[in-house]
């Protein structure tokens, strides 16, 4: 069993105030996993994540972000929370059993509620050439997601090209993402979430800005 290292901490929770997780943990996690898998296989397509949380998601993280956490995070995946979403630490450590990373580069999953204050992308773990999977997956709350408008994407999983419109993201994001492309297979996988909507931008997707 993985122990906490010096750069991780466990959350603090008032258990009487904790909200419930999935209504049906096994089947909800399976259906959420399938949705995330489809989204990753079709980068840039906006899909609905049919949430079945039994309680309210801990603000400011929305139902899609929390469903992703409940599905994918466990004791082997340290989570980093940006300052805006720090209040969700008790919920996530209780329901996922995941340790909290103190610095972004320790995290396998990073949850960003305030996209405007997103740390530079290269502060997250990018993996190594031998082990590219030892990198972070970013789950970013944005204020809007639309298909067929915005940034031009192409690459695996996209026939010809597609467009993804992401509102509320700092413009530097795309330049930083462009700079990471040449590190492939190292890189970051990004999941944009907005309420219960989800769109994926895996590292293999090429963008044109």
């Amino acid at each position: 069993m993985t122990g906490l290292t010096g750069t991780q901490r466990s959350g603090s929770a008032d258990f009487a105030r904790l909200e419930l997780g999935f209504a049906d943990p096994v089947h909800d996690a399976q259906s959420c996993f399938r949705t995330v898998l489809d989204a990753m296989a079709h980068p840039g397509s906006v899909t609905l994540l049919q949430g079945s949380l039994a309680g309210l998601p801990p603000a400011p993280l929305g139902p899609a972000a929390i469903s992703i956490a409940l599905t994918l995070c466990d004791i082997d995946t340290p989570i980093w929370l940006d300052p805006a979403s720090a209040a969700a630490d008790g919920y996530l450590t209780f329901h996922c059993g995941a340790p909290l990373a103190i610095t972004p580069d320790e995290a396998r999953f990073a949850f960003i509620a305030d996209a405007a204050a997103l740390p530079p992308l290269d502060t997250f773990a990018l993996g190594s050439d031998e082990y590219p999977e030892r990198s972070a997956t970013l789950v970013i709350e944005v204020s809007g997601l639309v298909n067929n408008a915005g940034i031009l994407l192409h690459g695996p999983g996209i026939r010809d090209e597609t467009r993804l419109g992401v509102a509320g993201l700092p413009t530097r994001f795309w330049a930083e993402r462009q700079a990471l492309a040449e590190l492939f297979p190292r890189g970051l996988d990004v999941l944009f979430v907005c309420d219960n909507k989800l769109a994926a931008l895996p590292r293999s997707t090429r963008i044109e800005i």
Binding site: G3, A13, F15, A16, L20, G21, T93, F94, G97
Partner: protein, 164 residues
């Protein structure tokens, strides 16, 4: 009690001794005893399940040997559950946790329920005096009997002084 207690690290030092004690007594009680106590409860609380009972493994650590270094004795099956009491106004008042040896989901849930009830000042005294005290007495007696039986087999080794 939190994840650290589950993953085999030392007990949470912040937990009051009294709560540790009643959790131990409840966890070691027979399922039938807890069911009977629950059935006998006059005003059953409303509650919701925060974490459904789930079985897992915990590593048991021991300290045997001259140096007292901890070592991993082996894993055992354990079931845990967590519930929240819901008041008349729909507000959650207390959260209770149950960890029991074995695979009994109902046992873990009942321990969690009684743990939550025992944290409620309005119910604590009555439950502590009846349920916990009644369950603890036979457990204590059984432990004493076991210890006495073990003690009877104790052999004192000594070396006789050799004659001149």
């Amino acid at each position: 009690m939190d994840e650290t207690a589950v993953s085999g690290r030392s007990a949470n030092p912040e937990m009051p001794l009294a709560r540790r004690r009643w959790l131990a007594v409840l966890a070691k009680a027979q399922l039938g005893e807890l069911e009977a106590a629950w059935d006998a409860l006059a005003d059953k609380p409303r509650y919701r399940v925060l974490r459904r009972a789930e079985a897992g493994l915990v590593m048991l650590r021991g300290r045997v040997g001259g140096t007292g270094q901890p070592f991993n004795l082996g894993e055992m099956t354990m079931t845990r559950a967590a519930v929240q009491l819901v008041g008349a106004d729909g507000e959650v008042s207390h959260a209770g946790f149950g960890h029991v040896a074995g695979r009994s989901a109902r046992h873990a849930e009942l321990v969690a329920l009684f743990d939550a009830l025992l944290q409620d000042p309005a119910r604590h005294d009555a439950l502590a005096a009846t349920l916990v005290a009644l369950l603890a007495a036979p457990q204590q007696a059984a432990k004493a009997t076991q210890a006495a039986k073990a003690m009877a087999t104790k052999v004192d080794f000594f070396t006789m002084v050799r004659g001149e």
